[in-house]
Symmetry: none
Subunit: 121 residues, 10 copies
């Protein structure tokens, strides 16, 4: 958990100057890479983030550096997808956020994980 918070600290935000309006930001990151916790082999994937900001937007260069922190991290597809969602939600407090992660074939098998967050009202 301590390690997880450390990753999260990489994420920077800037104030949303238009919080009175619901609008949608979609971000595609085709160069995500982490390491399989079982085999130690690198994994590759494409992340698609879609969110409606509240008071904060994620700064894109910090998002790039945050995602690079997973480069040598051993973690399952299912967990890394949920963890990135949790980090983005913790830092942005968005109105809603969806994360779709497509991972490259391993042993001939391809995987997609889809996770969603919606602000409690």
């Amino acid at each position: 958990m301590a390690v997880q918070d450390d990753f999260r600290n990489q994420l920077e935000t800037f104030p949303n100057q238009f919080p009175h309006r619901d609008y949608v930001i979609e971000i595609v990151c085709p160069e995500f890479t982490s390491v399989c916790p079982k085999t130690g082999q690198p994994d590759f994937g494409t992340l698609r983030i879609t969110y409606t900001p509240d008071e904060k937007c994620v700064e894109l260069k910090s998002l790039k550096l945050y995602l690079q922190r997973f480069r040598n991290e051993g973690i399952f597809y299912e967990h890394v997808t949920n963890r990135i969602l949790d980090d983005l939600v913790a830092v942005l407090s968005p109105r809603s956020l969806q994360l779709v992660a497509d991972f490259s074939p391993r042993g001939g098998i391809t995987t997609r994980v889809t996770v969603q967050y919606r602000e409690a009202r």
Copy 2:
């Protein structure tokens, strides 16, 4: 704000001769460019504007010149999209207006921002 109004003044309109009818105007501008406020590097994007006019239509050459004013302006994707929406709404008082902005990849990351306005009744 003073600067923002100055940009907005570039926009010209002409009277909508058919205000008794709801109809739809879609405008695609694939040559939008501004500057990243963080890195000073140029950004590139495609804007898609869809609106139903009320009393005024935007004159297209003035729209081109208005968008060119952002050429050397440092501004975040999220804010420039909202700001253009605000300027168009202020100048046109349209019945509705949507703006979808697709920005070119930076650091391997691609972004789309979607903003909508609908006239209060």
Copy 3:
């Protein structure tokens, strides 16, 4: 207005021999050209007309000649689209009619105007 009526007179109709039936006629005209009232430069576009006739159908050769009358006419995209709709509605009294006009890029900007008419009941 006098001029407008003059254009409209070019349109010929023939009696719809099947007025007891609602059916749909779609016409695509990819060779429309008029003149920009601001710059004096020629504009080019594709018109798509979709209508349900009542007592009259538009004769296609007369439609071609009617559209050619705009060849040297200075008129905004938004207005020419509405004006053609008005002329077709005046001459045909159709049950419904839609006109979608796609104009070629000017200064990097592409425009589509969509107008609809539906018979009052």
Copy 4:
């Protein structure tokens, strides 16, 4: 009208052996040709017939010969489409029938006519 009946006589049917079941027959005829009643020039089109038979199906070779009868017939697009619908409905008494006719460009203008019949209940 006498002439029209004469055309219609070309259409042959065979008994639908499965009238207890609603099913759909789609027929595409890309080689339809008739003559423009205004210019005397040949027109070319593709007909798409979709119907649910009741007691009778149209025999395809007779359909081909029936359509060939329009080869030297002067008739508007809108009327020939409706007339073929009427002939098929008269001969087949189908449960429903749709006819979509796409005609080749003339003077740069392309036309589609869509007609539908549904059995009264």
Copy 5:
């Protein structure tokens, strides 16, 4: 009818080991051929069978041999489609079954026949 039963006898089934579950089996047969009863010429088509089994599944090799029996059979498109549906329904007693048959052009005319069966409840 005796002949028809004879064809049907070619179809073999095996017990569905999962009858407690509704699931869907789709089968595509692009190599169907029969003979036109009017001209004696060969016809070619693609059959698409979609069904939910009840107690029995059709064995695919027997299906292939069954369909080959139509190779020298003179039969209309509309009837062969319905007859295959009837045979499959008689042998399988499925919960539902759809058959879509696409036939190659003859005299410039292409035909599709769509037939559906749903178990009475």
Copy 6:
């Protein structure tokens, strides 16, 4: 049945660290192969698994090894699809799971089998 349990034992799971959230995992396995029980010939197919985990996720390498166990197994398409669904449901107790299996052409015939499971509430 004893044999079937033996296959199922190959499947390994890891704890879902995010069970408080409904999310979706899609897995595509384009290299499935088994043997036709009738002809002894190899069959090839693509499996698409979509599920919402509860307390457990399937470990992908064990899934690969599990699917490889069918390599020399004589089994009908319809049954192998249902059996894999049953094994995954038994081992994972997912909230929901769908399996779509597309099999390569045999004798010119292509087959797809679709099976679904939803947790009783």
Copy 7:
């Protein structure tokens, strides 16, 4: 022969104002139709004419009317292609001329005929 000359008379030419230059004119006619001399059935095809003019160019409207004369003419594919080549060569005296004719499928069979003329030196 008398009849053939009569067809040829339909072709009009205009003086080539640039005879000092070798250049290429390509003409595509997708609406050619004649009648099969064996079955009496209409044939459909696309003609592609490519020529280098000498003193004369073919006037396109007269070419269209010339080709329409074959509408009800019974003639084999191979013969009509050669005859059109002969007529064009006789009327134009071109430096070279090629004619490629693609005919629609009949009984599942498609045909292309290619004919060439080159001026003797």
Copy 8:
């Protein structure tokens, strides 16, 4: 001829600053329109100009205005293509120049004219 020179005067050039190098400039003009000298109807086409400059390059805005002069000019496809080639060669004295003109269908007939110039050595 006097008129032709007048058109040609519209073309402006600027000095090629790199005449020591052979290089290629390709220009595509999809909005060319003139008038048929036979029917008085407008024609539409796409011009593709490819040239290697010597001492002069054509200024593109003047090229656009030059081509617009044909808007209401009655002239055959074959002649307008050669005439534009002659005008460009006269004004630019290029090392080589090719012009390919594709005209829209008229009466179902499409035409392409290809003309080439190469500097005498």
Copy 9:
């Protein structure tokens, strides 16, 4: 010229560690923009550079910054393409280098300039 050298100074190189081998580097820059010297309006284009290095390779970030220097520079398409070629050749002394520049439509006209350099032997 003084200004041109200044631009050129932005280009950085690194030593080619494999000069004993002829190999090919292709670089695509879809975000080039400069200003029209005639109208003052921005131009947009895609540059494709293909070269075989000798002793030096161009560093890509410096190339990006070099190209950005043209952002507010008034220069013709034909000249900017040649000038970039000259700058790259001066700085890299490559064995060969080709530059293809595709510019966006202006007034309906699209332009491509192709320039090549080959080392004298």
Copy 10:
């Protein structure tokens, strides 16, 4: 150099049992990643290796592990491509070998490096 040899040692080979025959092996590696020596940011690319073996073939798992060694290595595109070619040539002594490396866009710029080796005779 010491480090380079160390990487190369990761590559394993197996004897080519068919050295009497010239044949071609193509290997595509879409998951190559290294680090930019200038910015420290990760780079991503696809490698395409095509070779004709002599006495040895490269073992694919060892190739994968060899390529993974570059994961945290700072090296220019041009050099890493040449270095991998050198390593493969040193270990395999192939008759010929080509390596094409496509790198993802950075700052809007995409790069491909193509290197070839051919055995001296």
